[in-house]
């Protein structure tokens, strides 16, 4: 199931920020909440967070850009994350990554031209005893082989 996101709306953004602003060290919590609602962290939200938390815009921008998870633009409709870490490498993961890239016609980190699929590397899902593993829109899949990766790619393209 592809996640459904709201279009960016400043009033809604302000509500989300206000909802979490009382927490200790709230910046990451707010960034996660905004991305959960809109699918990415829209640029106008950065100064809003800074203003609410009494931080500089540069500080919030610095936090936003430090972490791999936060997006500055929406991803494709489906996000397929393939594990690139050692346990999955040992279990033949590299060949499956190449296969997924070839099937989708894009490289790791890119989104297909029709904006259906974003392919991303992930460094360990903790499924190292059922490697190689992947995550499609939050659903975990282990023991990948050629047939399973093909099925995942086909599912993501639908």
């Amino acid at each position: 199931m592809a996640p459904v996101y709201e279009p960016w709306d400043a009033t809604r953004g302000a509500e989300i920020i206000a909802e979490h602003s009382h927490l200790e060290g709230a910046t990451l919590v707010i960034l996660h909440a905004l991305q959960g609602a809109f699918g990415y962290v829209p640029e106008p939200a950065i100064p809003m967070i800074a203003h609410t938390l009494n931080l500089s815009r540069a500080e919030v921008h610095g936090v936003f850009t430090f972490y791999h998870d936060f997006r500055h633009e929406p991803a494709g409709r489906h996000v397929l994350k393939l594990c690139r870490a050692e346990a999955c490498q040992a279990a033949g993961g590299d060949a499956l990554v190449a296969r997924a890239e070839a099937k989708l016609g894009i490289a790791m980190g890119d989104t297909t031209a029709d904006e259906r699929v974003t392919l991303e590397p992930i460094y360990c899902l903790g499924l190292c005893a059922t490697a190689p593993s992947a995550m499609l829109d939050g659903r975990v899949v282990g023991r990948l082989d050629e047939a399973r990766i093909d099925a995942l790619v086909a599912e993501a393209q639908r």
Partner: protein, 518 residues
Amino acid sequence: MSLRIFVPRDAGAVAVGADEVALVLGLAAGKRGIEIEIVRTGSRGLYWLEPMIEVATPQGRVAFGPVSEFDANSVLDAMLSGGEHPLRLGLADQIPWLKRQTRLTFARCGVIDPRSVEDYRAHDGYKGLERALTLTPDAILADVTASGLRGRGGAGFPTGIKWKTVAQTSAEQKYIVCNADEGDSGTFADRMIMEGDPFVVIEGMTIAGLTVGATKGYIYIRSEYPHAVEAMNAAIAAAKRNGYLGARIGGSAHSFDLEVRVGAGAYVCGEETSLLESLEGRRGIVRAKPPLPAHKGLFGKPTVINNVLSFAAIPFILAGGAKAYADFGMGRSRGTMPIQLAGNVKYGGLFEIAFGITLGELIDDVGGGTFTGRPVRAVQVGGPLGAYFPRALFDTPFDYEAFTARDGLIGHGGIVVFDDSVDMSKQARFAMEFCAIESCGKCTPCRIGSTRGVETIDKIRAGDRVEENIAVIEDLCNTMKFGSLCALGGFTPYPVSSALKHFREDFGPAPTRLQAAE
């Protein structure tokens, strides 16, 4: 009579179809007009048998696995009739792989319902806290120290000393922080225990709180673990409802509250000071030590920061088990270690056993070699920052000091197995590449050194002045090891140097490497 069937909800089991199995079992029972109760547990950690499902019988729980959704109907019939089935494994706790373990920390994992305080209590849960509530902080510290427990995150610092430092530092607010940013590839013990027995983590943190006088705790879980986040949040809510978190815990004068915070995909946040920065809402940049987190930690307050497994070991120790815990192990490594067998291994999973078992026993005997059936060529112990060991070092006992003596580390107890198709210069390159991707950027050896390392290994692999460039890598490793601020830059040399030392034949132009792999 209703049939009780146990199906794991552990992410590792779900990834291979446990949810579908639970669904089909429910439908199949409906069709047969029988009543079944499906209890979603954690995993027992025998991952090659997942989804492994169990049924309660008068003799004990009988296991079946690996059960696919297509097997669920026939397995249900075998459960009803008590008859034979090709996937029937017999009594779960008599499975030899499980029986030869010493499960102290993981005793309940895969057994109980991780959402139920009652089930936790029915399996000796909260006995450690109940006893701790009758003790003085000094007496608790004495128990933790006597157990010999050392930090299970990797550094191996004595837990009792860390707690004592925080206890002796006065402040109006102190914190307990659980490091659940388990980013090392090949490790999944934190994930498993959070999903399979979250109350043991909560209980351990609560005991830490009363010992040092902290009233607030945070569990920092990596965002790659959504199932663990959900399980911990559900357990915290259940503990609150039952009076085990919040004001007057367990009817005492103490209060303790817990909150889950989710990381955002930065490996370096597994480093404790970087994690604290992240919890404070900042970039995960490593702090220089001193001051130690025990003196100035979260928000500048005295903070106990421990790994999930360290906290999870505490309830057993406080339930009167300090001496029993210390009686296991070897040398200065006391107690048990939840070891994780991963990668290209036949019997992968969680194997908790006393320190002292050799690497060879773990790989060949417990792990059964590779699932590809090819010979084991290398194993990486301790995650992306751990050394690669060849078969020649398989006599190394699992012990902090024994691994250090051989230029390795046990880290968080993960072992990744590689067969003879592995290209070790590629693995060395990956270690540098990973460090470059994940470096926080604060110190130069890590930030620049890792990128230069990738470039230099590329030259070696292309056959460009191989000997001179290997000398450059060795020099670079030395600089990173001694010049980096934290373990990311400081330990990246372990996989690189060990690959060079033990698999020198892989470092050269491609044709040599291909011959070596044949």
